[in-house]
Symmetry: C2
Subunit: 295 residues, 2 copies
Amino acid sequence: MKTYFDCIPCFIRQVLDSVRITTTREEIHEKVLREALCLASEMDLQQSPPVMAQKIHRLIRQITSVKDPYREVKGRFNDVALKLYPKMRQTIINSDDPLNTAVRLAIAGNIIDFGVNSSLQETYLEETIHQCLSEKFDDMQLEPFRNAANNAENILYIADNAGEIVFDRLLIEQLPIEKIIVVVKGFPVINDATMEDAILAGLPKIVEVIDNGSDAPGTILESCCGYFQDRFEKADLIISKGQGNYETLSDINKNIFFILKAKCSVIARDIGCKVGEMIFQKSKAFNGEREDARV
Amino acid sequence: MKTYFDCIPCFIRQVLDSVRITTTREEIHEKVLREALCLASEMDLQQSPPVMAQKIHRLIRQITSVKDPYREVKGRFNDVALKLYPKMRQTIINSDDPLNTAVRLAIAGNIIDFGVNSSLQETYLEETIHQCLSEKFDDMQLEPFRNAANNAENILYIADNAGEIVFDRLLIEQLPIEKIIVVVKGFPVINDATMEDAILAGLPKIVEVIDNGSDAPGTILESCCGYFQDRFEKADLIISKGQGNYETLSDINKNIFFILKAKCSVIARDIGCKVGEMIFQKSKAFNGEREDARV
């Protein structure tokens, strides 16, 4: 997905949110803000939004010397999600269609996105879980997905955020686990999950977990390490979680299923849905179904 | 009021709203957006937000060669307000305290602000009228205001937006009209009222109307013509309508009553109220009640 004009004011708002989480020093807020405005004035709009976000968060880290400003908030949401995990697992096991329920919960977990909403409260997470379990959503792709997962040889599960990764574990447990590699970010950026979060979620005990070597809040293939690129190339089924991964992978010609909550109007417009909708969608760029697909 | 960091993403959003109203050509949207980001990266945050807005809207006019992009929308809201005028006037006349009711309606009219909300619909205006007529609001200043209006020799009524100016007429009619000069903008900027709108509202038939010679969406004294500055200096009571006038006059040591709806979080924080609140407030900068007052 390209960067829409409407992403720009949102970037600037994100810059402020992030730098305020990093430091209370107003002169640093101002310095970062001014430099981000300069960066934004020269950005390549043909690139996806995470390309710009990657630059902005590098800038914040460079100016503030804080490597992982969201560390505390990531820890907090990992804890909250881990507390909810046993009950959610039971809900899945007791449900008529465990895979459907696990997908719904994986979507619910995607509300933990500090790029979109830096003031998310834990209580809202529980509300979102209830809503995602009861709301109607377009599950037309569920049977093709079930078949694809059974028939695939190599499944890549590209995770999104800390906390959310516990919800991902619930879905992973419903899939043929021996074929799955889970991917996290190589370095901290916003509240995206890194290896530390995967370990807290208990994932390496049940599945192979790798990092993508990148500090982008999405999957910019050129920015990822060779090992990840190789696994990406070999995968015959890719599960992509969240907005950042959708934004960076929606034009790639691979067999990708996108799982996310459409939390902003730009994503909603690109997908063709309403803001807030639960999305479980097969890539339109796979096998040329989308004209502007990149191979 | 100085420019807060949170005003910056809002400026960039405003730029997009404005340029989209002006032209459908996306290459122009991009050019304006990039230049506005450059401007914003160098702005003086000690100045009030309308200083930046003035520069941005000059930029849009210069790049697009469209002098008055909001002309159609201003006409539409003048028409809507004029249709509502007889009924609102009757509501005032029939009320227990006509001045109180007229102030409430003047605040309701302030919802017609395309700087804050470029997608305002006419139906929302009627909702706002009902809400402002029934809602509790802090009218502690009403008696001091009534006395000040009776005792003043020269009253300046600084209008805000087109459409809204019809609501201002309702309040002006409840005041000692022979002492009042109404002020509109010297040139079109966003949907701010100019002489054309004052004439449509029928104001010059009942009161003296002048323009301030400026193209700022507020009252930047240095940017106004000498004639206005002289009237401002001589006025012993000033009525200031809307956010832009509050932002530019809140630090000035003059006997000003601000009438507005607090429509954004930055204004609400500066005033110390909630977003959406009806504001009828005497200047805290008058006679040094606010420490950072400018003379």
